[in-house]
């Protein structure tokens, strides 16, 4: 049975980081608590200090800043849904958010919590990774920014060092013609992904793909990018992407996946589905960019 803990309420990021540094591993940040509460009750996690980030201002913004999309760690999944209309990429992220949890849970669950929990099946990791998002981290020694793919280091493991917190997610270079799509297989309406795939495409002025991202979820300890599929997409026209290239990209997804068999699905099924889902994600990006999304 879980222990009692002391509740701390910082009101600035600096204070939050100080608290974490001084209590070390015995302290944990509390965002929406939707993962933490269950883990605490089940005895999977245990802490003496709970640092509630809810009262730290400026952590829950979702905004465009020049050609960057900035998403605060404390923005909720529901905020993501509500901000869908902001930009083509928030459209994709809003759609992702609506696949997740329930409305009730989404109003509590945060984007930072979803990423810091570092579950292989977390739904936000693949689309953000495909978009080339970066994680901004604040620690006792100041701030650093790393690619999101490096943020995840294993099942429920992140690159956060002692005393560090995730402050925001930055997606660079979101101007121009961009689209993203995330697809997953789940069982009931409330479920975590059995397998998932996301794609991101950016076009240059001539209509060729200049940037592409393909990322898979729930087929490895962390989100994995399918670099070969991305390379294949770059330089293609939308037509080429839709006809043939998507199919090949799917084959690369299969080759990249390193799935396991568990109670939810078999390795074989997961692996096969990476191709279907990757093709669908690419197809959807193409449709959006052709104006048929």
């Amino acid at each position: 049975m879980a222990n009692n803990f002391e509740y701390l309420r910082p009101t600035t990021m600096g204070e939050a980081v100080d608290m974490k540094s001084s209590h070390g591993a015995r302290a944990q940040f509390w965002a929406g608590g939707t993962d933490m509460m269950l883990q605490w009750k089940a005895g999977i996690t245990d802490f003496d200090y709970c640092i509630d980030l809810t009262y730290v201002p400026d952590l829950d913004q979702i905004a465009l800043d020049g050609d960057q999309l900035r998403i605060g760690a404390m923005a909720t999944l529901d905020d993501l849904d509500l901000q869908s209309g902001l930009h083509p990429l928030t459209e994709a992220l809003g759609e992702t958010a609506r696949m997740m949890c329930t409305k009730q849970t989404r109003t509590l669950a945060t984007i930072g919590g979803n990423l810091c929990n570092a579950s292989p099946s977390a739904d936000l990791s693949p689309p953000l990774a495909a978009m080339g998002a970066q994680a901004r981290i604040l620690g006792p020694d100041g701030e650093r920014t790393i690619p999101l793919t490096e943020f995840f280091t294993g099942v429920r493991k992140t690159a956060l060092a002692d005393g560090e917190m995730l402050t925001e997610i930055v997606v660079p270079d979101v101007g121009g013609d961009v689209a993203a799509s995330y697809n997953r297989v789940a069982r009931t309406v409330v479920d975590i992904a059995l397998v998932s795939s996301a794609a991101f495409i950016k076009l240059d002025s001539s209509g060729k793909i200049t940037k592409a991202g393909v990322a898979l979820g729930a087929v490895a300890p962390t989100v994995v990018r399918v670099n070969k599929a991305e390379d294949l997409l770059i330089g293609c026209s939308l037509k080429e992407a839709a006809n043939g290239v998507a199919n090949k990209a799917g084959e690369h997804a299969i080759a990249t996946a390193n799935a396991i068999t568990d109670i939810r699905a078999s390795k074989e099924y997961r692996t096969d589905m990476t191709s279907v889902l990757t093709q669908r994600a690419i197809g959807r990006c193409v449709a959006i960019l052709e104006g048929n999304g």
Partner: protein, 783 residues
Amino acid sequence: MGVHHMPKKLKVVGKDVPVLDAREKVTGALEYGVDYAVPKMVHGKILRSTIPHGRIKSIDSSKAEALPGVLGVVTHEDSPDLDWIGVWDNYRGKVLDGIARFVGDEVAAVAATTEKIAEQALALIEVEYEVLPAVLDVRKALLDDAPQVREEGNVRDEYRVVWGDGKTGEDESDHIVELEIQFKAQNYAGIGRNACICDWNGEKVTMWTSSQTPSELQSGIHQAFGIPMSSVRVVALPSGCSFGLWWSNNFMMLTAMLAKKIRKPVKIELTSQECMAAVKRRHIEITTGRMGVSNDGQITLADFSHLMDNGAYGFKTDVYFFCCDLWGGAKNGDYRVRGVSTNLVTSGCMRAVGDITMGLAVERLADMCAEKVNIDPVDFRMKNQIKSGQQLRMQEPRQHMKGTLTEYVDKLTDVQKEGWPEMFHLSSGSTHELLRQGAEKFRFKERWKGWGKPSSVNGSKHRGIGVGTGAHCCGVEFGGNTSSVVRVNHDGSVNVFSSCGRQGQGSETTLSQVAAEELGVSLDMVNIVTGDTDAMPWSSGSSASTTMFRTGWATRAAAKDAKKQILRIAAIEYFDSDDPETLDIQDGIIRSQNPEDNRNVSLEEMMNVLCSDSLAQTTVITGRPDEVMPPTIAFARQWAAQFTEVEVDVETGEIRILEFLAGQDSGTVVNPKVLKNQVIGGAICGAGFALYEGIEFDENDGRVLNDGLLDYKLLRTGDFPSDAEVFFVESPDPVGPFGARGAGESPAAAAAPAICQAVYNAIGVWVDVPMTPEAVIRALNER
């Protein structure tokens, strides 16, 4: 005489009144087992086995007992040497007997001042086992050299239903189709946990727990501890959905053992993992079947062999399958069932027991036959399913408390049987009208494209339509009779005492409606006690779809008896000693049935005077059933026919239910809201079984792996069409109260085959349940 006549115009029965506890429920005021507390209560926790099979060599609780705050520990050494039997043989054994029979089995229990201390104490109990070989495979459990789970051996007597002749059936068949399906065990997975509080005070034992079978729990305590029933008071609290889970469970007996030892009220509150992995579940079932059909679409042969696992403590010999009645038009039938013990968590009756599994196998084979002779599923069902008045198949060998049912019926006098429907024949209703009306509403014939043919295809999305049927009993008397008491108070208000518990089935509302209708008072004058065995007559609880039919019948009979007594006194005192039969109570007023006669007295005045003036040697009027109820199992069934359209993504295997229409014939609808709730809830339960639900057992030790809702996937309302429609066909029952019959189980049985058939039509291959995305893809690949 068991047959009640229908009054001309019903005033309370049939009305769409909200359930009586709606306000309590939505405001959170209703106290479930886990919410309940009593003064001076302490807390208990259960030590559970970590191995699937073992004999306890030694158990040392001294360290646990020494922990500050611990009040007592009980082990098998404290257990009375008495067997107790749970409802429908869902448990048979001692409370503890020193043998662990599954991972999670109860081994000992601790009481302490706090739950936390009790839990810490569990870790201090040292158990040494002699490890015994375990049997985790249902088929292997049948073998002679299999490890034996129970003293009585693993294999129960075969239960068999036979009519006609198998050889003749084979000869008459133009086609014979075969299958074997293994059904995973469904988890009750009721939303809401349970707790039990027991106080053993002197010779008096009081137990508060969520249960749908209060009286049987009282009997269980009486058996387990060898104490008089009069010393046992069970107060059954409401439960969240139960579906058969919270009847009389051994953890309740363990709570009583602790209470007896420490002489303080003890509460054991189960965790959700315990609820999902250590109490009960549906059986793992394996159906092997053959069905024959002649070219004109007549089923000539139905030959089924069914194996079900009882888990560790279940002791059932069959699953109570009424699909053989449903498909009673088959010319020759042979259904064999065997129960077998395994070192897995106990299994028991879950909603639509037998009919959701074996019934699904029968429907599948029937569909395969229909395809062979190219008849659509609606017509094929109409041709081969039983009609009202026809002979029932599932009957004769059944054990009544007084021998077999046939012997019992034969021994009754004509007076006792007067007015009874014909025994062993279907009294009323069938699937026919449901299929006819349902097909019309669903536009089935227009939408039907043929067997294995999608109704539409859009890229990877294939849609298909399907229809499924289900039947079940309306209560069974073998587990014990049912009763009700109706008390009319000084002010003309009414208390009903019916032992049926409250698991959301709405019986407190519908039984009150029955009493109010019969007594001629408004519903707000009626209050009902459904859980306190100190007040209620013994009654088989809310199981086997019994409550509306049998307890409703008893409630109406008790109300009639009360009314008869009232009218007899009223006739003398207020109506010049007229024949009481000429009087009636309407809207709380006693008056003559002759509209010209203006004499009247209010029920309140009459009852008030009765008390103060001693018109009779009584203060209140107490009514009880004063006639013999015909054995329900010998004539009454409930029917469901459901239509659906599904969409299957042939690339990912995902299935969505797009449309759902559920037809239900439960006789007279006593309360449309309550019945609709039963039908939709049942359909969702059946749909969940078809699509996702199934317990995963660890292959090495049999522990339940998906013991939480994260990986035990229940359908949410969002997984089921929000515009699902329900329609009723009301074939009145000649015996049931105001023509009502049972309802809770046939809807669950019909949903699964409807969805399976729709998936088949969408993609052209049959998929075994649960039809998870992966199972669909596998089936498509194996095509």
